[in-house]
């Protein structure tokens, strides 16, 4: 499932004094199976952009194709689209509502018209995918801990069996352990199931470690679209945009200033450690 957006423009409160240009000529192409991060300051248009992908915000001008669905057309098969593009909002645990975890996870698949018999299996599978045991199926989602709630909410989206997963700050408000779990799950979905993942994030360390490509939004425009290593080499630019430079990137950048470069793709502290160690051995 690929996404092609061309000349996307969006204006909030069009024709009123409160007019706000949220997207300006956005051109983005995201291929099947990519793991992309979307970053930018608050109000940079990133949320507006991702909400276009499953037609929560309807197209104002420009072209947008998601898989084989053309959102430029007036009539869109919303059920199909929303089944295809799973969207996990910020603090998704706040959208839980059903009596039991089972019913809550089943809400999405039921809505998009998946067979009743299949749903029970899908629910179990999704729960397993997010690393929770079946014993919680009959529990009320409100009795779970914060991290568990979030995983159930995530399972509720995964149960719709999306080919594209959009996550809006999936790790906000979680402890480090919870963050790692969610991220490794998302990574697994991307690597093993080939799901295209688009992650909106403010945590540049998280972005640097996980994604293949970073799209930077600023005042409604796409200003950068690069692999993380290349992006965070532009230290001044990043700081100007009120973004931080990941620790590992900072380290690599300062080594580069001293003429030390590596061939391997270094994302984590451990990898950097290995690489530096190798350097010492070599010299």
């Amino acid at each position: 499932m690929s996404i092609v957006a061309q000349q996307l423009n969006y204006i909030y409160n069009k024709g009123t004094p409160f007019e706000k240009h949220a997207l300006c000529d956005v051109n983005v192409e995201i291929g099947d199976g990519e793991f992309v991060a979307i970053v930018g300051h608050t109000g940079s248009g990133k949320t507006t952009f991702v909400q276009h992908l499953n037609a929560l915000i309807r197209l104002q001008s420009g072209q947008l194709k998601v898989g084989d669905i053309d959102l430029t057309e007036k009539k869109t098969d919303l059920k199909k689209l929303r089944g295809m593009v799973g969207m996990v909002f910020q603090y998704p645990e706040y959208q839980l509502f059903a009596d039991t975890v089972e019913a809550d996870i089943a809400f999405g698949p039921k809505n998009i018209g998946i067979d009743g018999e299949k749903i029970a299996d899908i629910v179990r599978e999704s729960l397993d995918l997010v690393g929770m045991s079946e014993s919680v199926l009959k529990k009320s989602p409100f009795d779970l801990s914060g991290g568990e709630k979030r995983r159930v909410a995530l399972a509720g989206v995964l149960a719709m069996q999306p080919r594209i997963l959009v996550l809006d700050e999936p790790t906000a408000g979680l402890d480090p352990q919870g963050k790692r779990e969610i991220l490794s799950l998302v990574k697994k979905l991307n690597r093993e199931r080939g799901i295209t993942v688009i992650m909106v994030s403010h945590d540049m360390n998280e972005v640097f470690e996980n994604v293949d490509r970073v799209i930077v939004f600023r005042e409604g425009k796409v200003v950068h679209d690069l692999p993380p290593r290349d992006l965070f080499r532009m230290e001044e630019d990043i700081v100007n945009m009120n973004l931080e430079i990941p620790y590992v990137a900072q380290f690599l950048n300062s080594l580069e200033k001293h003429g030390i470069t590596f061939d391997e793709d270094i994302r984590t502290v451990d990898q950097a450690f290995e690489a530096v160690n190798g350097l010492k051995g070599g010299k």
């Binding site: 929303r82 706040y94 959208q95 999405g108 809505n111």
Partner: protein, 281 residues
């Protein structure tokens, strides 16, 4: 979905009316609301129209915004007019068809009801357009202060009101968010019968309720941790003060309504055409 809902209709400006004391405006509005019930003739309504125009001019709110407030009660107005036209009996039969009888008195009465109700709304909206909800709450608290003597917890009530008001925008945002989230899960609010549609709101209402309780609890903690202990020894950051505007505004309104009272007050307010003579029309 809810982005367009603005609560309260405050129209920011720094006009004469905006700068008046909220307490004075509240009281004058009461005078107006009572006063308008004394007016029984179209001539009287013409005077009220003039009065409203002066007030609107002094408040520098566009007339369009003021008239918008009537939209909310349009249904009620429509109903009142229809009922009065068809069910008022009188002496001058105009139309008789099948079981429908329309009298001249009915038409006149319906017309007056229409004017009276819409003028009630327009007058009050001048208050809400020129006064922020927070100022209104303060005004109410200040005016009701004497009731503390008979143990009415005025301060607490005012606090509850202002908290409720301040929570409304965030609740609207929250609702918007939850609707989007459930829509993303394929929820459908726009098709199906009445029961199906009502049921479709459960996935919105429950999370909303849960989050309201959470918010309320967090707020209570926050207030407790800052040693909030109710009305005792609390002062206001902005002290309300009367100015020349308040005296001028009050004089104008009072003079006008004293005149209204002198002309109409001596008559039976809801009297018949014969009793009122020319004043009726």
């Amino acid at each position: 979905m809810f982005r367009d809902v603005t609560f309260g209709q405050y129209y920011p400006s720094d006009s004469f009316v905006h700068k008046m004391d909220a307490r004075v405006k509240l009281l004058l509005n009461l005078v107006y609301l009572v006063g308008i019930f004394f007016v029984v003739s179209f001539v009287g309504f013409a005077w009220i129209t003039l009065f409203l125009l002066v007030a609107i001019l002094a408040s520098r709110v566009p007339v369009r915004n003021v008239l918008k407030s009537v939209k909310g009660v349009l249904f009620l107005l429509f109903f009142t007019v229809i009922l009065n036209i068809f069910f008022t009996k009188g002496d001058n039969l105009l139309v008789k068809w099948w079981i429908i009888e329309i009298y001249a008195e009915g038409l006149i009465f319906a017309g007056k009801m229409f004017l009276r109700l819409s003028y009630l709304v327009i007058g009050s909206s001048i208050l809400t357009l020129t006064t922020t909800p927070v100022d209104l709450t303060h005004a109410l608290e200040s005016l009701l202060k004497p009731l503390t003597w008979i143990k009415v917890p005025v301060h607490d009530l005012a606090l509850i009101m202002s908290l409720a008001l301040s929570l409304i925008p965030s609740l609207i945002n929250e609702t918007d968010r939850i609707i989007r989230a459930q829509k993303a899960r394929g929820a459908d609010f726009d098709t199906g019968g009445l029961i199906k549609r009502a049921k479709a709101f459960v996935p919105i209402l429950i999370p909303l309720l849960v989050s309201s309780f959470r918010r309320a609890e967090e707020l209570a903690f926050a207030m407790n941790s800052r040693c909030y202990e109710g009305a005792t020894h609390r002062t206001c950051m902005r002290v309300m003060k009367l100015s020349w505007r308040d005296f001028l505004g009050t004089s104008v309104v009072l003079v006008f309504f004293v005149a209204v009272f002198i002309v109409y007050g001596t008559q039976t307010t809801w009297g018949t055409a014969e009793q009122l003579g020319w004043l009726y029309f």
